[in-house]
């Protein structure tokens, strides 16, 4: 039996617009996106990363901390993480973070992970469905100065000094062994994320970040000041900590738009090309005529 020990994991997650379910109602006539019509969801592969961290903790103990950089509303996915079993969550939010590309994002995540202190594993989903870049994981690993294992399909073993994992590649798979601490990016086929626990949901549904106090006090008038609410939340371990740029010691020139080397030159909306097209009746005669045409044009035959 190899020597195992408790493993402390940090899971980096993102709240994303549900781009996989874009329907006719979301796309407007001129091809633009009606963002308001898109629900914000937990990035799917980040749930797989969280599940992987929870399974490791289940096997050998340790802790799972979940962090997200995003707008105040991203507290929603942190609560989701608590319901699923995260020990601790942190919301990285600051107007100065807005407009960050992957490089500026990875800088913030690096500082936040370092501020947490000791960790063995950093996990994140392979990519987020709103950008599909798969860049933030490796960039964060580079900034932290730790190795990375991308496309992780399964964790075979975590010892006190090393992790053995399987990577899923287009062309096959490979099994690698890597020194701890390291960063994993997890693919969607790795596991089936557990649902939120009803018990934990009951216990933690009041968990809130300071940006949400006003809304909570509207529903709970017995807390007449933010301070009173905060005292209550702190006492019951329900306060979601918020870290700003100043809290993590981020340099203004390296975050948000200013820290992003990539710039958007232009955006073109995808308007479906109107092609020269024919409606073919679903009858033997209609089909035969179409096939004849395709043969004539050397498309088939």
């Amino acid at each position: 039996m190899t020597h195992t020990r408790p493993i402390h994991s940090v899971v980096l997650v993102k709240q994303v617009p549900d781009t996989h379910n874009i329907t006719g109602e979301v796309m407007t006539k001129d091809g633009t996106v009606n963002r308001g019509a898109l629900p914000a969801i937990f990035n799917p592969e980040d749930l797989n990363a969280l599940e992987m961290a929870l399974q490791i903790r289940g096997r050998q103990g340790g802790s799972v901390t979940v962090m997200t950089m995003g707008p105040p509303s991203a507290a929603n996915i942190l609560r989701e993480s608590l319901y699923r079993g995260a020990d601790r969550v942190v919301l990285l939010t600051d107007r100065k973070f807005a407009g960050a590309d992957t490089l500026a994002t990875s800088y913030v995540l690096q500082l936040a992970v370092q501020k947490l202190g000791r960790f063995d594993l950093v996990l994140c989903g392979r990519q987020a469905i709103d950008g599909d870049t798969a860049q933030v994981g490796p960039q964060t690993a580079e900034k932290l100065g730790i190795p990375q294992i991308t496309y992780v399909e399964s964790v075979i073993e975590v010892t006190s000094t090393q992790i053995t994992a399987e990577r899923a590649l287009d062309s096959g798979s490979e099994i690698v062994r890597c020194a701890l601490p390291c960063l994993l990016t997890v693919v969607g086929s790795a596991n089936t994320p557990r649902p939120a626990s009803v018990r934990r949901q009951m216990e933690r549904k009041l968990a809130a970040a300071p940006g949400e106090y006003r809304a909570i006090r509207a529903a709970w008038p017995e807390f007449d000041t933010d301070e009173a609410l905060e005292a209550f939340l702190s006492k019951h371990d329900l306060k979601i900590p918020v870290w700003t740029a100043a809290d993590i010691g981020a340099a203004d020139g390296s975050i948000g738009l200013a820290g992003s080397p990539t710039q958007v030159h232009k955006i073109n909306f995808v308007v479906l090309e109107s092609t020269e097209s024919k409606t073919v009746p679903p009858t033997p005669e209609g089909i035969a005529a179409m096939v004849a045409e395709l043969v004539h044009e050397y498309i088939v035959g």
């Binding site: 781009t19 996989h20 874009i22 796309m27 091809g31 996106v33 992957t102 490089l103 469905i129 950008g131 599909d132 870049t133 798969a134 860049q135 933030v136 490796p138 580079e142 100065g145 190795p147 990375q148 294992i149 991308t150 496309y151 053995t164 899923a168 590649l169 287009d170 062309s171 096959g172 798979s173 490979e174 099994i175 690698v176 062994r177 890597c178 390291c182 992003s260 080397p261 990539t262 710039q263 958007v264 030159h265 955006i267 073109n268 909306f269 995808v270 479906l272 092609t275 097209s277 024919k278 679903p282 009858t283 033997p284 089909i287 035969a288 096939v291 044009e297 498309i299 088939v300 035959g301």
Partner: protein, 346 residues
Amino acid sequence: MTETKSIWVFIEHTDDRIADVSLELTGKARELADQLGYEVVGLLCGRDVEALAQHVIHCGADRVLLADHEELSLYRTLPYARVAISEAQRRKPEIFLVGGTPNGRDFAPRVASALRCGLTADCTDLQVGDYHVRKEDRTYKDLLYQIRPAFGGNLIATIVNPNTRPQMATVREGVMRKPAPDATRTGIVEKIVPGFEPGDFALEVLSRRVRKSSVKLKDATVIVAGGAGVDGADEFALLRDLANLLGGEVGASRAAVDAGLIDRAHQVGQTGTTVRPRLYIAAGISGAIQHRAGMDQSSKIIAINTDPAAPMFQIAHYRIVGDVAEVLPMIIKSLRERSIDQREAE
């Protein structure tokens, strides 16, 4: 050292064969370099891979930087990135292109982070152009336009990196044409000696399993693809029959893959394979943007769907409103009858 500006291409390879996407990028880099007066440089890391260098030159490179070392025999992030980072810091390429393969997308962000340069993922087109920033009243000349679908493929964004070098991009496989190698092309193979650090060997590859895929979607001239509108395995078998008859391949939308009708290797679309066959038959595929992004360059598209409002109909050349289970047999029958007619005529 000459001060010629350069475009670099990361040359990926397995089992002594260069990845198609690396050659596609070498061809594209050649085009861009001719336009800009730059040099094309292939970065080739590996073990006993010198023979591959000439092929990169034949496909358009002026120079190959060859790092031949036993620690580079299999792709690993840190040793490969070490070579790229230290050479890029020294030689300062203007542009650095990497294939959008799993390992390419593992490598590129690691390198970009270390070089603190901009990186655009999964581009579908690259061009050169100017970029005017009104706030600075300044025009940046000859930037790389990195063009990619964004927001789930509903938008096409053109990204530029005005202030950092190299301008890095990963590019999706199959979207650029592979150049025909020209054996008369000559170039320089420059050997480089990697300067590793102990931490570069933190990861060890214990085993590697290569799946021999019999699916050749990318090169198929005809693809018969099924989606959520295909009801069960029996109906899916019709797709196979038709594909066999046409000498083509079977493709699928994510819905069909998720429903377990077919292996993921057949998936066409943004998260699957990008294809551009002569004929694409979309059977029961509604045509979500993610799917269309992977096949809308097909020469001819036939869409079959019971829902006349399916978005696929908007890009189809032939629209057939009907049930897959009824329409496919008609196409099969019609094709068989034609081939009988032909034989009788001969």
